[in-house]
Structures are given as structure tokens and as C-alpha cells.
Amino acid sequence: MVKPLVKPKRKNPLKKTRQPLYPQAVRSRTAHGLTLAGAQGRFELQKCTECAHVFYPPRDACPKCLSPRVPFVPVDNRATLLAETSIHASTDPYFRERTPWRAGLSKLDCGPVVLSHLHEDVREGERVRLELKLDKGGAPVIIALPARDTEHMADDPQLREMTCDPKFRRVLITDGRTAVGQAMAKAFSDAGATLVFVGIADPWKPFPGQDALRAIPNVEIVPLDVTDTESVTEQAEQNGGRVDILVNTAEHVRSGGVMQRHGLTVAREEMDVRYFGLMRLAQAFGPGMRARGADGVNSATAFVNLLSVHALMNWPAYGAYSAAEAACLSAAQCLRAELRPGGVKVLNVFFGPIETEWFQTVPPPKVAPAALARSVVNALQRGLEDVFVGDIAEDVRARLAVNPKALERELGS
């Protein structure tokens, strides 16, 4: 059974910080079908369209009928672990410092035999669940988990390498004035975060919910204004070495499109809060997080962006807002590549209209701040890279996959 994690002691500042390493991340183009599924938390393998044969590793032709039509589709992840080994000698520097490392061959009920990482609670001959995860290098890997959840399951060291579990980690929520920011603080505190820094611009100005916020265990209010480079830099100097998960909750929602707005004042403001805010945070906190990607139980692990799903397709009713969100999405993709060498994930959380005053005129369904916060924590616990929260976000994703041009017309009508 997995031993529960022990809360890490205060770090000795004289000790060398372990440099981040990651397993080989090169994959064939076809194998990135696993990356896509793993990033969104689905278990998918290739299945032949012509003969329905399910197979693995990824191929460009069906090994039963040679059909080239072999898409990735969700498949049953139940399997039996046939043989296991503990690797004591590895040629890879990442694994060398983590041996013994367990790996094994499982036979899926749907056919293929899969070499995977092994959770501590699985044993040879037993039933297992295979899940796709992204490893420290952001590459897709499969891990065999026990058929049923076990106690302290998430604390397994091999599994924790592939997740961004907030337990015993320190979190920075960049804006605590918003309903989402406050819900986020509660959710991370509930998830076992050691410390939840909550940024407040101009802390002397009172704001609704501040008493409740202060009452949340492990919350520490800190001065932070994402529109002020000096403020962001100062906060990073103060606490940057203790930020393992950064959740950017700074928001700027105004209705209106591109042509109807007079002047650029609002647009500049929304770019300043959202796009430049993200850049300020990335520049001030990113390098430190990247360097602390292998720093023990409370290593730096994730940079979380909350993005309107309309970053993916403009919603003209909130057209300028959508454009700013799209800029943030693009920057997040860049940041993902920049943080990857440190084993730090960038989680993009896409949501539809939220239950706040700025979406007052928008009809339901809308996303409750608490639900959004729970989704973020859940996504980190599972180690995901892209999640869609709420019916609108799911709907946009589905329609985008079928016909982006149709979606563009529908959102614009």
C-alpha cells in the first residue's frame, strides 16, 4: 500500500536544488494521438475503421487488415497485469535518480498488450486500469492503476510525477477580489495545499467576501496587481521561490465587439489585465518555477490559465474580450513550451460564461465559480493540460471539432 506523503520540512536554503530532468519526450507524429487524449484525460488507442481491431503501439496501418484508417478512439481501459519488473539500472538520467522504477506488461480486455508504468498498489496477476498521463516532459505515457481506488492512491511517487496534485504544495491565486479567485482559494485549501497566497491589488480597499476569504485555512493575503510590473516583480521576489502552482484568476470581462466600441481605452485595459498580466506573471514567476520542477514533494508543478472558451472561436457579443482571451491562449501555448524543460505543466481551463455580474444578461447555462474551482483542482490532480468546464465550453469544443466555420457563423448570428 502507498505510504501517505509526509509534509515536507522547510527547505534548507544552503542545499542545492535538484535540477529538473524529464524522460525522453520524442514521439512519432502518430503517437501524439496519445498526447491529445492524455492532455484531456481520456484513454484512447487506435481502432481500425475497417476491421475494428484495437492495437498498440501506435501504427500507420492496421496490423490485421492493413487499412490506413486507424483513428484514436476511447477504448475500455480494463486490463490484467501479466508481468512486472523493477528497473534498477537505467541509461536515462531522469530514471537513474528514481530507481527502482516499476514497469510491466498488461493485457487489455480489448486486446493489446501494453508496457506501462506501475502504481505501487498493483501486483502481477491482478486486474488494473490503464490511464494515459503526461509525464514530466509533457509526453504521453500509460500507467497501470489498481482496479479500484486505494487509500492515499494519489501519493504514489510514480503517479505523482505525472500529476500536479495540490496536496502539500503552495499556491498563488493572483486575484482574490473576484468570486472565482475566492472560490479557488477555498478549493485549494480543501485539496490540502500547504499555503494559499491570494493576491489583492490595493489591499487597503475593502472588497466583498474578504472576511470569508481570510477565514479559509492556510490562506495568506499578499499584495499583487497584475497590471503593475513592479507589484508583480516584488511579489515574485517575496514569495516566488514558494509558488508551486500559480492560478491566474485576474479577469476583465466587458461586452461589445470590435467595431462598435469607441476608442481603445477598454481594449487596452483588457489586454493589460489579461494578456500583459499573463506576461508579467510569466516573466516574474516562470523562471523560478521552471528551475524548481524537481524540488521534492513540493516541486513547482503547474501554471494555470483560466480562459474563456471563446479564445478558441470569437463570440462577437463579447468580441474584444474574446480577442484578448485568444491572445492569452496563444501566449499560454508559448509558455507551455518554455516551462516544459522544468517539468512544469501549463493547464488551460476553458469555460463558458460565469455566474458573475459581467455576464448578467447572458442566459444560462452558466458556470458557478465554485464548480470552476473544483474543476481546476481536479484537473491538476489528474495532471491534465486542457479542460473544458460547463455545458457551453463542452458545446463549443464539440462544434469546433465538427465544423469550425459553422461555429463561427452560429456565434455571430
Binding site: V26, Y56, T85, I87, A89, T91, A103, L115, D135
Partner: protein, 388 residues
């Protein structure tokens, strides 16, 4: 299936084994060039007289056999490149034998060579195949050790093999290697030392694993009268088999392609396994040796452990096996590992062994195995050879 044509009038001669080295600053080109140099000297021919060349190597970089003809100044009229690792020797032999038999070439040099730089093993592992890159190397990067650990574990579960059984093979091979001057491992090995060795990837421990090294092996295939005219003692090729990706539906490999083709091998050779004086198997891990005992018909499937318990495997034992120490003790010189047993069997048959001789060896069997692409070795081959 129609009966296969015998390799009448075709022989293999002039076995060359370059002394292995743990690490080499020389390139694979150097090793292959030197092996062919020694081969032409042994055969008493000029390099340009070679009109056929078949080559195997993992470390030639961008070069293929074609580029090597210019590098080495050869103008062969028959050329082949066999990227089949441990099956390279047997496969090269059977390709060359047919070329000579059909008159496509008269003097075919078969050669395999690889270098071993300090970091080349890790690089070879991580880029060995697309499946290795996508689905093996990221899982602990244990290399072949981890893959064969799982095959070994499964075999032990299925047939009750014990570590001691595998140890007996390794200890005997070490004994055989003691008379080979360039063997990587020259210290005597006891079963206790085998059992107490450090774990590499359970259930494999240190002495189950081969030592990567640099080296090259070569031999000449020609007509029997050509060998005679050159004054070269030779061996006849009685039969060969080759198979790739056999039994793809076995969840974990417990048998190799030999199990499909062994009947044909012995039928073509016109002999039975118990007539064989010496067996040279491909020994990347003793479990694969055990499978070869079974699948080639020296014992029944699942009886490998009992077979090991009831025999001795040194050159003077009841079942002489891997008489030059095999890769487990001599070292694994990349693709040349697929030739090690072949050149050793030839030398035993022509009475010019490097190490201990086998008394009156007339008939030898050689098998090859190679290319763990994902979860199992894909290529298998075997040949039966007789003193000419």
C-alpha cells in the same frame, strides 16, 4: 509448400573474429574495414576479388552497405544490408549461400561490426525503433534488460524455471570464455556469485546481461571447389531457417520463430537434434537460450528447465553450448553478436577453435535472434553446419 532446394556445393570458410574491446574510439567503418582486411588475408585474395558483400551494423550512422563499397574500395556485383541484429549472421549466411549457389556471386564476404563509444549504447537504445521511442524507452529506460526481464518473469511463471537454472547456463559460458583471450569477462564465475549479483531489472541480475562492446566478425561464402583452390578448410550449409514476427498473438513471448520452422530445419538438414555435436545459441539473456533449446527441438516446450538441470554446457560437457563464452562472457559487439556463434561453430568444425576444442565435432547448429522492437524479439534464424 514445396521442398526447399539444398545448398549443394556451397561452403562457408575463413571465420574472422576481431578481438573485442569494451570501448573504442574507432568507428564502425574501421571495425568493418579491419575485419574484411583480415578476411582477405586469411583467404589469400585481393579485396577487389570479392564480388559479393553482405553487411550488418547499428553504428554506421548515415551509411548503408552501398556507401561502404566506396568507403572500402569494393565493386561487388551482389550487395545486401541485413539490419537484423542477432539474426544477422544466420540470415547473411543463407542469403550469401543462395547468391553463390545461383551464380550471382562467387566470393561473398559476410561481415558485421559495431563500435561502442562511451555514450553510444544509450543513444542506440533511445532511437532503436519507432515503437521503442514511442512505447518502451519512456518507461524507465531500462533498455533490453527491462524488456527481457518481463519475458523472463513470464517464462518463470509459466514453466517453473528458477534463477539457478539460468545461472547454470551463465556459469558454464563463463567457464568456456576463460580460454578466449579477448572475452570481456575473464574471471571465473560461481553460481553463488551469479545469485548474489546486483539486480538490474528483476528477475535479471548482473550476470544475466551482456556487456556491450566494440568488435567485428566476418566469414566468406563460396563454392566448395573455390575454397579448395584457396586451400581453405570449410563447412557445408545443410539447412537454414528464418522468421520474423512469429506468433504475434502471444501476449508475452514464450517461444520464438524457431518453433514454427524447426521441423523444416532438421528435415532439410537430414539430421536430428541429438546428432548435433555443438550448439551455438543467441544468448542475450539465458531465457532466450532456454527457448532455443525448446523451440529448436532439443527438448519439448516447457522442459527447458529440466533440460538445463540434466546437462552440462561447457566445451567438455554433455551438451557443449556457446563454447566461446557467448555474448554473456565474450561481450555483445552490436550486430557482430549475431555472428559470434556462427564463426565459433565454423572454427570448431574446421578444428581451429580460439579456445577449448570440442572433441571430434562434425555437426553444429547455430541460431540467431534479434530486434526487440516493442515487447519481444522479432527475428529468429538457425543453421545446421557440417564439416566439409
Amino acid at each position: 509448400m514445396s521442398a526447399r532446394l539444398a545448398y549443394d556445393g556451397v561452403v562457408a570458410c575463413a571465420p574472422v573474429t576481431l578481438p573485442y574491446r569494451r570501448y573504442s574510439v574507432n568507428s564502425a567503418h574501421w571495425w568493418i574495414g579491419r575485419a574484411l582486411h583480415d578476411l582477405t588475408h586469411a583467404a589469400g585474395i585481393r579485396p577487389q576479388e570479392l564480388d559479393g558483400l553482405i553487411l550488418s551494423s547499428f553504428t554506421l550512422g548515415a551509411d548503408t552497405a552501398v556507401g561502404m563499397t566506396q568507403h572500402l574500395g569494393l565493386s561487388p556485383r551482389w550487395l545486401d544490408h541485413v539490419p537484423m541484429g542477432g539474426a544477422s549472421g544466420v540470415v547473411a549466411l543463407r542469403r550469401a549461400a543462395r547468391a553463390v549457389q545461383c551464380g550471382d556471386a562467387d566470393l561473398v564476404a559476410c561481415v558485421a561490426g559495431d563500435t561502442n563509444h562511451v555514450d553510444s549504447f544509450r543513444k542506440t537504445l533511445s532511437t532503436f525503433s519507432r515503437f521503442a521511442q514511442d512505447a518502451v524507452y519512456p518507461y524507465g529506460s531500462g533498455g533490453a534488460n527491462a524488456s527481457f526481464a518481463l519475458i523472463t518473469k513470464n517464462y518463470m511463471n509459466l514453466y517453473g524455471a528458477k534463477r539457478e537454472d539460468f545461472g547454470k547456463l551463465c556459469v558454464a559460458q563463463r567457464d568456456n570464455a576463460l580460454s578466449i583471450p579477448f572475452a570481456m569477462m575473464k574471471k571465473p564465475l560461481t553460481l553463488d556469485e551469479y545469485m548474489d549479483a546486483r539486480p538490474i531489472s528483476d528477475p535479471l541480475h548482473l550476470f544475466d546481461c551482456v556487456m556491450p562492446c566494440a568488435g567485428a566478425e566476418a566469414l566468406l561464402v563460396c563454392r566448395e571447389e573455390t575454397a579448395k583452390a584457396l586451400g581453405l578448410p570449410a563447412v557445408r550449409v545443410l539447412a537454414t531457417i528464418e522468421r520474423h514476427n512469429a506468433f504475434p498473438d502471444d501476449p508475452i513471448q514464450y517461444r520464438g520463430g524457431w518453433a514454427l520452422d524447426a521441423g523444416e530445419l532438421w528435415q532439410m538438414a537430414g539430421v536430428t537434434p541429438d546428432e548435433v555435436d555443438v550448439l551455438e545459441t543467441y544468448d542475450d539473456y539465458p531465457v532466450i537460450v532456454t527457448m532455443q533449446f525448446e523451440d529448436l527441438g532439443f527438448c519439448a516446450k516447457g522442459e527447458g528447465p529440466d533440460f538445463i538441470r540434466s546437462h552440462t554446457f561447457t566445451a567438455d560437457g554433455s551438451f557443449p553450448h556457446n563454447t566461446s563464452g557467448g555474448q554473456l562472457s565474450a561481450g555483445q559487439a552490436g550486430a557482430a553478436g549475431g555472428y559470434l556463434g556462427l564463426t565459433e561453430a565454423m572454427r570448431q568444425l574446421i578444428r581451429k577453435p580460439i579456445g577449448k576444442p570440442i572433441a571430434d565435432a562434425k555437426l553444429a547448429a547455430v541460431s540467431g535472434f534479434g530486434m526487440i522492437n516493442y515487447d519481444r524479439g522479432l527475428s529468429s534464424g538457425a543453421a545446421v553446419l557440417a564439416r566439409a
